[in-house]
């Protein structure tokens, strides 16, 4: 599983981190860190983050 976050549209609300802190970490109000190739076992949690993002900035590639 490959995760990308569109840095142009990401508005750093941190909803992804609420949904899936194993993969997403809002370090500060203007910086998001994330695991680009998380383990397959985290799929549900990453999909939850994708859906929770208010700006639809998270993309999952299989």
């Amino acid at each position: 599983m490959k995760v990308t976050v569109d840095e142009q549209t990401c508005d750093h609300h941190g909803q992804c981190m609420i949904a899936c802190p194993e993969v997403f970490n809002l370090v500060s109000p203007d910086r998001l860190e994330y695991v680009a190739e998380p383990d397959e076992s985290l799929r549900d949690c990453v999909e939850e983050a994708e859906s929770a993002c208010p700006t639809l900035s998270i993309m999952i590639e299989d």
Partner: protein
């Protein structure tokens, strides 16, 4: 680092004054001088960048958690309800509640309701269109938002009036008159709790695919939600989704009455609806005021903010801050930086897709069928505090065809 500006240069506002308006010329003028103002109760933030950063900064918590207590309400139903709200809790409890509620408000689920939104908008307009006049709040904004909410929670739509009245009463809790209105707020809450218990019992007997069934399952099956939290969550969903959209639709129409060319444009080009919704909220948000409270000592742009300080984030001046978005007029064709009408950060509005999508459907239909809307007489306005919007908006228009 200390306070960079001397006290005399920093604007001051009395935010407890019922006449204080976040959209006033005074506030906008203050924004040109300073990114913040001192108030009788914490710091007011006036510009875009600082509002954006503070909304998302995890060293601050949502600021309204102690609102009832600050107004002398220290026990009873309102106090208890408030303490259980997702808005009032932080950390692990907030995370648990938010994750339970999120799936029910996903964009995909809201998109499924679109055909129903279109039909509902058409049906409501049919009832008054031929007359060429209506009171827009009771004729459209209120039944539209209330019946959408009934659909969301799987409740018989004939009960929308009760829900709407109770929501209006509960909404008074977010205003500066919470102390004076306590009895009315608690009556609204008792009614809403009765409804929540009814829905819980019904979905326990016959589970469905709706949000209430999912929450009941989280309580019964997995114990991830206490009974009290379940009731509070349902009341928040019903209340939070209704009053806000009702008021935002009224504010939208007021704006378009003042900008007839933009209304014509939306009628001709319904694909502009998503931008129109964002532009309406940028200019005239129903939630004009969010708060945060510092949980530790902070320094923001040279200003020392001690732990415990309340920060008032005022969305009208921040949304229109010339430093961030330019000194731009109301224009539904332009894509701009995000507004703060849905708050931001961990407490970003849960129901924003519902609000966005149901308004995206309603506005172009209204623009086609209510041509050249104008005020029949002056609207009756709710005070600018908590949730803002017209209470009565009597208009006339030229009936148009929905072709």
């Amino acid at each position: 680092m200390g306070d960079m500006a001397t006290t005399s240069e920093v604007p001051y506002f009395d935010v407890s004054d019922p006449d204080f308006s976040v959209s006033s010329a005074e506030v906008l003028a203050a924004r040109e001088r300073s990114w913040y103002a001192r108030t009788n109760f914490g710091i007011a933030v006036l510009r875009y960048e600082q509002t954006s950063a503070l909304l998302k900064d995890r060293r601050l918590r949502q600021g309204s958690f102690a609102w009832p207590e600050q107004h002398g309400i220290t026990e009873g139903l309102l106090h208890r309800w408030w303490s259980l709200l997702m808005l009032s809790v932080e950390g692990d409890d907030h995370r648990r509640l938010r994750r339970l509620a999120n799936p029910a408000f996903s964009r995909a689920l809201m998109e499924e309701m679109v055909p129903g939104f279109k039909l509902l908008a058409g049906e409501l307009i049919d009832a008054f269109a031929e007359r060429g006049r209506c009171e827009f709040v009771s004729g459209f904004a209120e039944p539209y938002s209330a019946r959408v909410l009934c659909r969301l929670v799987g409740l018989d739509e004939s009960r929308w009036r009760d829900l709407s009245h109770w929501s209006t009463d509960i909404g008074l809790a977010f205003g500066v008159t919470i102390g004076r209105d306590r009895e009315r707020i608690e009556a609204g809450l008792r009614n809403m709790y009765g409804l929540a218990d009814e829905l819980i019992a019904e979905r326990r007997r016959e589970p469905g695919g709706d949000v209430i069934s999912a929450l009941v399952q989280a309580h019964d099956g997995e114990g991830r939600l206490s009974h009290e939290e379940l009731e509070a969550m349902i009341t928040l969903i019903v209340f939070g989704g209704m009053d806000t959209t009702k008021n935002q639709l009224g504010l939208a129409l007021q704006l378009f009455i003042d900008h007839p060319d933009q209304w014509e444009l939306l009628a001709r080009e319904p694909d502009l609806a998503p931008r129109a919704v964002e532009e309406v909220i940028r200019w005239n948000p129903t939630v004009v005021w969010t708060t945060r409270r510092a949980t530790e000592d902070l320094t923001v742009e040279g200003l020392d903010i001690p732990a415990g300080t309340t920060m008032h984030l005022l969305s009208p001046p921040a949304n229109t801050d010339p430093l961030a978005v330019g000194d731009e007029p109301f224009d539904i064709t332009v894509e701009r930086r995000a507004h703060f009408g849905f708050g931001g950060g961990a407490h970003h509005c849960l129901g924003h897709w519902l609000a966005r999508i149901d308004m995206r459907e309603a506005l172009p239909i209204l623009a086609r069928r209510l041509r050249r809307p104008r005020l029949e007489r002056a609207p009756v306005l709710r005070p600018i505090s908590g949730v803002t919007g017209p209470v009565e908006l009597p208009i006339t228009f030229d009936p148009g065809a929905d072709a």
